[in-house]
Amino acid sequence: MSAATESTYTPATATGRITNFVDQRVGGSGILREFGRKVFPDHWSFMFGEVALYTFVILLLSGTFLTFFFDPSMAESTYNGSYVPLKGVDMSVAMNSTLNISFDVRGGLFMRQVHHWSALLFTASIAVHMLRVFFTGAFRKPRELNWVVGGVLLILSLADGFTGYSLPDDLLSGNGLRIIQGVISSIPVIGTYISFFLFGGEFPGTAIIGRLYVLHILLVPAMILLMIAIHLFMVVVHKHTQYPGPGRNDRNVVGYPLGPVYAAKAGGFFFIIFGVIALMAAFFTINPIWNYGPYDPSPISAGTQPDWYIGWVDGALRLMPGWLLGIPLEWNIPLPWGVNTLSLNVLLPALVPAGIVFTVLFAYPWIERWVTKDDREHHVLDRPRNAPTRTAIGMAGFTFYCVLWAAASSDLIATHFHVSLNDVIYWLRALFFIGPIIAFTVTKRIALALQRKDREIALHGRETGRIVRLPHGEYQEVHAQLDDYKRYKLVGYESPEPSDGVPNGNGVVTKQERRRAMISRLFFEDRVAPATPAELEAAHAHAPVHEQIEEPERLKEVSH
């Protein structure tokens, strides 16, 4: 930074004068120097994190608009707005004001739909972003902590989605709350108390909407903002990862400079996301609460779906039987002070699947580190096929999620495909256990097959579909050889071998170390080693017909 003595630098432009003014008072030129041309690698799959960020901004904008008109009171009122079918109906002030936003505030319905669609896109983009990070191994050292921050963001986004969903106090959201209340009641010892404190008495009470409102617009968004700040700060500290390819390694970062290209593309992308959400809000109705009516404990509409990110927990509730082979899953336990009730049929599905998913999710970077004993920094990503076991684990988890999500629509599946509802549940119960195993096996095989195909192409080139006749009469297909850049993309990866148990200081291989070696075998036993130059040479000696690929095509591939 410039010295504290008389400045000798005289700016020539207006920009320069402003910069000079600011820098001499609060500093900042250093930041610009650091960031103005910072290099960001580019790839389409890096887009999901951006979508999450932008949809959150849109949520803040549309949500703030809604707060100006929404009234989170559960006091009784009579609807008197312009939606005729509900005129004169008793409902809470919350529902009443949401109807008013929809029908009597111009653009209010539009804002509600923008808000709800962005909420769905926000949670979805976070989930897909996490999958991207997982499948490419971007969570490895030094980015483990940022993976954890991402996991917290996922949970916070689900929490904000659910609290928001409950605000309008319509029939659907009220039934959602009823289910939550039932689940809370099943918590041993303190469940009833939590329920009474949360709802301010018996369900539904008159307190819950106001309380959820504070969580939804203040506490949770503030925590999301804080986490996003930490998340992005770490991204800058670590610099972005990059996909493998010629010229890219763990010591450099290849991409576009922040200004102008990267910033322009990213900034433009915000407007595109906003535009797409506006289109959805224009044409696709979401959460038409006027069709559901106000909450009432008696009626219910069958075949309704919770938002996608909550559905899997509801699906778990559906899959769990109340009786298993004649054995009840709820017990009355006689204790010295009286009889208490333990409802495992509610407690287990509410806690266990989500517990498994989030435990594995948070622990995975350390699990893999422990298995591979890999303490190096990784800035070059793995192509998913080049880490077959990790990819298989990810797909197993994804399948687990999808089975639960499908279970939340068991009734729709049954009516749509004209099968018995009970059979759908039986099948899904079986899939709950074997689905992830099948997904694991199949994915691993596919990944290994793709690796073998890569090897084949690296060594023998691509099939061109052109057949030529050789001098001695044989017909052969012409294989186009890859150029060095393209080939490097296919061979530039590592394929670790299983590591045996390493003896400790006393020369014994501990039980834990033996277990690690076993898992290491599971991870790396089946492997496809990258092709080597020697193999390439050997391959060339055997295949007489190939040609160098033409210049332009090769360049297209590397400059995307």
Binding site: S185, E202, V254, A264, G275, P297, R318, N345
Partner: protein, 342 residues
């Protein structure tokens, strides 16, 4: 920092390390040569791209105007149709306004801004010397406090800090009342009439024909001013009439029905949704939330799904005017299980 052309070749980190040390491997050929775009060489193409970007920004302006048109010139009447049109125009207007700007900028960046990929060195995150220094500083600080040498201070501090947050938890006590026995009682009582939900008109036994079903609330619920929804959430009942020979009442429940008319709590014993679907043919009640299925001919025993307990039955009788009334409250708590239920 460097240009693409000096992309360092043979950076072998991206290539095999673990386990493959002994195998010969391909060398990194470095960054591929840069390819010029049409607009980089042809001024006419550049001019055309410039015009395209301007047109996209122009589309954005049209979009904003469309929004204003929708906002000011669509008159909302009492039909939902005009609202739909307005919503569509506002949405389309916003979409064009945003997409115009967004695609314009992205096109500008792609076609006209420099598209040289550059390579930058990564620096080691933190140096070892820093870590050593940090460890020493922390050590010194702890040493200077003397906390290790003075366990009395340490232990009392730990105790104080452990206890101090509890008031913050206790303060939440007034969020709601204690449960007491609120969950064990409903509005039903001896002689309370069964009335239709939501109109509140009483039901004569003779109104309930074979195979019919009624959604029922206790008489007086509609007149409640406070706690109406809370009472309703416990008291709603389904009333059905079956052939009396199909009912198999257990001991003590023989007189809970009247001429094949039975009344069961409508609140699912799973997690509390209303069990709203009655399959007349099979005499099953189905909860739409998680598909718990209850068999009316077995006193609403669970025959499928995640619920465990049967729906509680409301004992009913007929009063002197022929209207259906409750004999008493439910004999057990309705709705989802809870720890103290027993």
């Amino acid at each position: 920092m460097g240009d693409h052309s000096d992309g360092i070749p043979a950076g072998s980190d991206a290539v095999a390390k673990a386990g493959l040390h002994d195998v010969e491997k391909f060398q990194d050929p470095g960054l591929p040569p840069h390819r010029l775009r049409l607009a980089d060489t042809d001024p006419w193409a550049a001019k055309r791209a410039e015009r395209q970007v301007a047109i996209l920004f122009g589309i954005s302006v049209v979009g904003t105007l469309l929004f204003f048109f929708g906002y000011f010139f669509i008159r909302l009447d009492d039909t939902i149709g005009t609202l739909r049109i307005q919503n569509m125009l506002l949405g389309l207007g916003t979409a064009f306004a945003m997409l115009g700007i967004g695609t314009g900028i992205v096109h500008w960046a792609r076609a006209l801004m420099p598209d040289h990929e550059v390579s930058e060195e990564r620096h080691e995150l933190r140096s070892e010397a820093d870590r050593v220094a940090a460890e020493k500083i922390v050590g010194d600080i702890i040493e200077e406090t003397g906390i290790k040498r003075r366990p009395l201070i340490r232990n009392t501090l730990l105790g104080a800090v452990a206890l101090a947050p509890f008031p913050a938890i206790v303060m939440f006590r007034d969020l709601g009342p204690l449960p007491a026995d609120a969950l064990r009682h409903t509005m039903w009582d001896k002689g309370t009439r069964l009335v239709r939900d939501p109109t509140g008109t009483p039901i004569r036994a003779s109104d309930v024909t074979l195979g019919s079903a009624f959604h029922v609330i206790p008489d007086g619920l509609n007149n409640l001013h406070e706690g109406k929804l809370e009472e309703k959430a416990k008291a709603v009942v389904l009333l059905m009439r079956l052939d009396p020979s199909l009912l198999n009442p257990s001991k003590g429940r023989e007189d809970w029905s009247y001429n094949g008319i039975v009344a069961y709590s409508k609140i699912c014993t799973h997690v509390g949704c209303p069990v709203a679907l009655y399959e007349q043919q099979t005499h099953h009640l189905l909860c739409p939330c998680h598909q718990s299925t209850f068999d009316l001919t077995q006193e609403c025993k669970v025959i499928f799904g995640p619920a465990k307990r049967p729906l509680p039955q409301l004992p009913i009788a007929v009063d002197s005017e022929g209207y259906l009334v409750a004999q008493s409250d439910f004999h057990e708590p309705v709705g989802p299980s809870f720890w103290e239920r027993g």
